[in-house]
Amino acid sequence: MSTVSHLVGTGLVSGVQVVAVVLGGPVLVGTMRKVRCRLEGRVGPPVLQPLIDLRKLFRKQRMRPNQATWIFPLAPVVLVATVAVAIAITPLVTTQPALSSSSDLFVLVYLLIVGSTVLALAGMDAGTAFGGMGSSRAVTIGALAEPAMLVTILALSIGAHSSNLPAIVQGTLAHPGSVATPQRLFALGALVIVIVAESGRLPVDNPATHLELTMIHEAMVLEYSGPDLALVTAGQSMRLALLLGIFVNLVAPWGLSTSTQSVEVVVGLVALAAKVAFVGITLSVFEVFTAKVRLFRLPELLAGAFVLALLGVVSGLVVR
């Protein structure tokens, strides 16, 4: 396959991935809400409700606090843009997305950190009390989650001798047994906790809270309205979908297309949707049965993730 057509193909597939996640993320959130409501014995909003909300938000008025600077309107854009780039280079439906050579787990992590950092700055831009509180908590949790995250990446990468995600995934496809190794299982266990912390779900953060003092992510975005708020919510759901997508492709990359042929891509899309939906539903079921952890109990949770990741590395060194 010539380089040009290869470039075009990978670019197209990346576009497909982005569109799929942009539309799929809200649906995923809607599904999780639906499951939650069902378990609470209620009908719950339709699965497409988040998409409807987004459409409405784009039609509404934008507002900007008089103290705010250019950071405020920029932050949602950067959030969505970084997540979009991360999605584009991640092997979600195919192992050959655009720039797949540099779709490195380390790069992905830092792309996400860019978004959350800019959002934390935006939270302080309006000069309100709650914004600063949210930013402070968000960056603290981010800092505590990072060791677990990078050591997890290390544990996942040692086997493949590379932190390049396509390489790791292809390795798993080549040797399905490598999923069942203790090193991989420990690392994935740690990854689950990190994902929950990073995407602001229970028990770390309650996305449905109305009380400012209990907020983490919500408190940062209290000032946003209309299209900006739409971008922020979209960014959050895309982020969740991306993280779950990475997770499922690390656990069970089967169905993932190894080329950019349209048929395989469609298969990959379906497989991805099914896997992510399954994980998302499991997550929301778990959320129904858990309460939010106190802010200063979070270190225990994240330290647990960190130890899991360490055990992953060690058992990787032991079990060869």
Binding site: P182, F186, A303, V307, L310, V314, S315, V318, V319, R320
Partner: protein
Amino acid sequence: MSGSGYSSALGLVASVVLLCAVATLWRRSLGAIVRALAVQGLALAGVATVLGIHHHDAGLLVVALLVLTAKAVVIPMLLARVVRGDPGSRETQPLVNVPTSLVAAGVLTFLAFAASRSVTSLVPTTAGRLIPIGLAALLVGFFTLVTRRKAVSQIVGVLLVDNGVALVAFLATAGVPLLVELGASLDVLLAVIVLQVLATQLRSKLGSFDLDQLTELRD
């Protein structure tokens, strides 16, 4: 079973043993701690089973059965009864707080890994290479024993150490002298029963069974 399957399966169950040891440091509710112990017993039995099947050693399978009954069923049930005695009992104030203990557990694991490098070189079998995990489980269990206050979690600590010893024994000499293992489990069983009686009496006397309150029994 096939080589790779055997090694990965063995590694899996062995690391579950270690994971359960860590879980006792992670969780606060005594019920969860006891459950972790039960799972660990199960995993230990699993180790014995995998080894037995691999070496076609019926004795090991018998041991597995005994381990299962003693460590995964009987002892946890006894402990669970003690815990049920005062519901909602939690390890509220461990001597070392939870995050630090977890990091310590990680460090202990590394220590075990470094210390047993020489041993693993002596035992070049698949099982032998897993000895560090057993040693780590042992150390973590000891840490639980040292840093936890409640009588139950300390009993659990003792049992974790015992399980760690058992695991190392299994891995080092695939196929332990049956009696040794049995003896260990049995006297631990006795210890548990004694301690349970003690604990129940303490509770009836003092209301709860925080071992630090034993110091008040002096005068």
